[in-house]
């Protein structure tokens, strides 16, 4: 379980996160929604240690995440995708996913150069993982394409796939549906819903597609101006006055 308590983050005069508390229980999809600039991505950036908060605690399964350096997070089981997709552009899709699995390897420079059995074993294992994820996301046929050549929608899938390949127990997804064809969103919703079961990961999902978000998540946290303004199951949130005023708008 992820527990965020009293989180505060400011950039100069901008209070991006302002005393935020929420939890992500294991084995569920939890959504984080809110207006543009509400601070959602900033929360992810704090969780993955790109931003240093001014106050608050972030504890995941007993580990204080704020004590870890950015590259240690994946070892603690936290994987993430990026809102603006940050793929390894020049690498083929497969290698993008392999990088996700690479933190599992233990072989160093010398053993890799010599291709010792240990190094080969890691390669094989990483490949198996990647294949499984590609199949899950139905991107197997993109395997050898250069990531930078893909359409935005496909890039989003690869980005998510890379995070999944890292074998997270907590997966942070930042707007996976944006830029994806409307016709594909139902499918994406199903995929996200299956993640806890198939990969044993809880999901923290950020998106602006309300159909998707409310459809897949067990509980929803709503932010505005860096604060939590509502929390609960999708139906309750959908009807919440403040959420409608700040985010959904009158329809």
């Amino acid at each position: 379980m992820l527990e965020v308590r009293g989180l505060k983050l400011a950039f100069g005069g901008v209070q991006a996160i302002d005393g935020l508390d929420f939890t992500v229980p294991d084995g569920t999809v939890t959504a984080l929604i809110g207006a543009n600039g509400a601070g959602k991505t900033s929360v992810l950036n704090v969780l993955s240690r790109f931003y240093q908060p001014q106050a608050g605690t972030v504890v995941y399964n007993g580990t204080d995440l704020l004590r870890l350096r950015a590259h240690k997070l994946v070892h603690a089981g936290v994987g993430r995708s990026f809102q603006n997709v940050a793929l390894f552009q020049e690498l083929p899709v497969l290698d993008n996913l392999l990088v996700g699995a690479d933190h599992l390897g233990r072989t160093g420079l010398l053993r890799n150069t010599l291709r010792t059995p240990g190094a080969r074993r890691h390669e094989r294992r990483a490949r198996e993982r990647a294949e499984r994820v590609m199949e899950f996301l139905e991107i197997t046929d993109l395997r050898h394409r250069r990531a930078g050549d893909l359409s935005f929608g496909d890039r989003k899938l690869v980005d998510m796939g890379r995070a999944l390949t890292s074998g997270p127990s907590l997966l942070l997804l930042d707007e996976p549906a944006s830029g994806m064809a409307e016709s594909q969103r139902d499918w994406l919703g199903q995929v996200i819903r299956r993640i806890p079961d198939e990969f044993g990961a809880s999901v923290l999902l950020i998106d602006h597609d309300m159909g998707l978000v409310l459809g897949v998540s067990a509980s929803v946290v709503v932010m505005d101006f860096g604060r939590k303004i509502a929390e609960g199951d999708p139906d309750a949130v959908r009807r919440d006055e403040r959420v409608i005023a700040a985010y959904l708008g009158e329809d």
Binding site: N36, E175, G179, E182
Partner: protein, 231 residues
């Protein structure tokens, strides 16, 4: 006002558009829909002058644009708000807007900025912040505002709702509708059906070809939309 006359476009070996035609009359609000890779962005780029059709013509107010670059087209009144925002990340918000107003002289520039910001009040507090540090949605607003700075008579918007909160999406569409009401012709590319509520005429693309067209209301309800979408 705008006529796209059976154009073909390619990126190297990939043919992105095949014999596409469409039309926008003065003051119209046109929506272009289609799945990923259908060729929507390419259509807008061809109109704005970023890609050159290998066949066919693009006419604006009866004038063939073939030989004009993007800057010249802009001075005729064609503005494109490109896909993926493309804000200048190292510039402040104010500087981004001023680049949009590059052709304006200094006296009217300030007024124009104020006018544009009325549509996107959220940007007002961010004027000194560098655009790269804005949230995704804020960047999107900035990109649209920047395009409006050019005082276009034909505004081309490529997926403006990308990454916008539902309420903001509606605000943006309302704002665009407002712009249209002031006489600007709008061509809007979207994957989002919501666009059809604002547009008066819609084209649906699939695999580089026109699949369906008609008044927006009809297209929205049309079962064919679904099949056209899926190519």
């Amino acid at each position: 006002m705008l006529t796209v006359d059976s154009i073909d476009c390619s990126y190297g070996p990939v043919q992105a558009l095949m014999g596409l035609s469409l039309e926008a009359t003065d003051g119209a609000f046109i929506a272009i829909l289609g799945a990923n890779g259908a060729g929507k962005s390419t259509t807008l780029k061809a109109i704005a002058g970023l890609v050159r059709p290998t066949r066919g013509r693009v006419l604006f107010r009866g004038r063939n644009l073939a030989r004009l670059g993007p800057e010249r087209r802009l001075s005729l009144g064609i503005a494109l708000c490109p896909e993926g925002r493309r804000v200048f990340p190292d510039f402040t918000v104010a500087e981004n807007l001023r680049v949009g107003g590059h052709r304006l002289n200094r006296r009217v520039l300030g007024d124009r900025v104020d006018q544009t910001l009325q549509l996107f009040p959220a940007l007002k507090d961010r004027m000194g912040q560098s655009a790269g540090s804005l949230s995704g949605g804020e960047q999107q607003m900035l990109a649209i505002a920047r395009a409006l700075m050019t005082e276009p008579s034909l505004l081309l918007l490529d997926e403006p709702s990308l990454g916008l909160a539902p309420m903001i999406t509606r605000q943006v569409f309302d704002a665009v509708d407002g712009i249209r009401k002031q006489g600007t012709t709008v061509v809007l590319v979207e994957q989002n059906r919501l666009a059809l509520r604002y547009a008066d005429y819609a084209y649906v693309l699939g695999n580089g070809r026109l699949r369906l067209e008609g008044p927006a209301g009809e297209v929205q309800d049309d079962e064919r939309l679904r099949s056209a979408y899926l190519g």
